[in-house]
């Protein structure tokens, strides 16, 4: 079974600054995938970024990047140049190859300070 842990219930950052959201996970599988989802007040789940565990290179999507530490089972999300529209709940999630249900963490609420 997989577990995903987000130890920061809330984070805040000044607009235009950089913030890092933490996520650790546990799995016995060798092939798995990791995701960050954004949930704004509308409560829609929006995929932010994804990482295949077999890839050593950290994924990046514009202002969003991850720091994937496979040995430490850590998958943090860095948001650069934070914008007001980044304010949301952020969920870390994992899925195993071949059993592709998503296991979510408890989320981190990100507030952007103007």
């Amino acid at each position: 079974a997989q577990t995903v842990t987000q130890s920061q219930p809330e984070m805040s950052v000044q607009e235009a600054e950089t913030v890092t959201l933490s996520c650790t996970y546990d799995t016995s599988e060798s092939d798995y995938y990791l995701f960050w989802y954004k949930q704004p007040p509308s409560r829609q789940m929006i995929l932010v970024i994804r990482q295949e565990a077999y890839k050593q290179q950290n994924a990046t999507e514009n202002r969003f990047s991850v720091n994937f530490q496979k040995a430490a089972k850590s998958f943090s999300l860095k948001i650069s140049d934070s914008q007001l529209g980044d304010a949301a709940m952020y969920f870390c999630a994992a899925s195993n190859f071949g059993n592709e249900k998503l296991t979510f963490g408890t989320g981190t609420r990100l507030t952007i300070i103007p």
């Binding site: 409560r43 789940m45 249900k101």
Partner: protein, 117 residues
């Protein structure tokens, strides 16, 4: 961009009543899912569906729940006799396939907020 469509966006029902939540997945997707999020809590897996049958279900998905893909486009979640604790946001999601396509992640619908009174 293709979307997963869920209806209704909000449903209020009396305890003990049956509800059907509807979803239209992306047309060429093969894997379908329902997830639940109780207010203020994390998103939880309910059930996955592939090739017209349930491929996996969680402990939450008891005999009160059922899923169906009646006509090749809709994907429904039925709760037979709702309880107060069924109040939650229900998300439908779909995915194209396995392997490399998994890395594209799921596409989630915008959710149905179910309130049981």
């Amino acid at each position: 961009e293709p979307e997963v469509t869920q209806t209704p966006s909000h449903q209020v029902t009396q305890m003990g009543q049956e509800v059907i939540l509807r979803c239209v997945p992306i047309s060429n997707h093969l894997y379908f899912y329902w997830y639940r999020q109780i207010l203020g809590q994390k998103v939880e897996f309910l059930v996955s569906f592939y090739n017209n049958e349930i491929s996996e279900k969680s402990e939450i998905f008891d005999d009160q729940f059922s899923v169906e893909r009646p006509d090749g486009s809709n994907f429904t979640l039925k709760i037979r006799s709702t309880k107060l604790e069924d109040s939650a946001m229900y998300f439908c999601a779909s995915r194209l396939g396995t392997g490399g396509t998994l890395s594209s992640g799921y596409t989630f619908g915008s959710g149905t907020r179910l309130t049981v009174v």
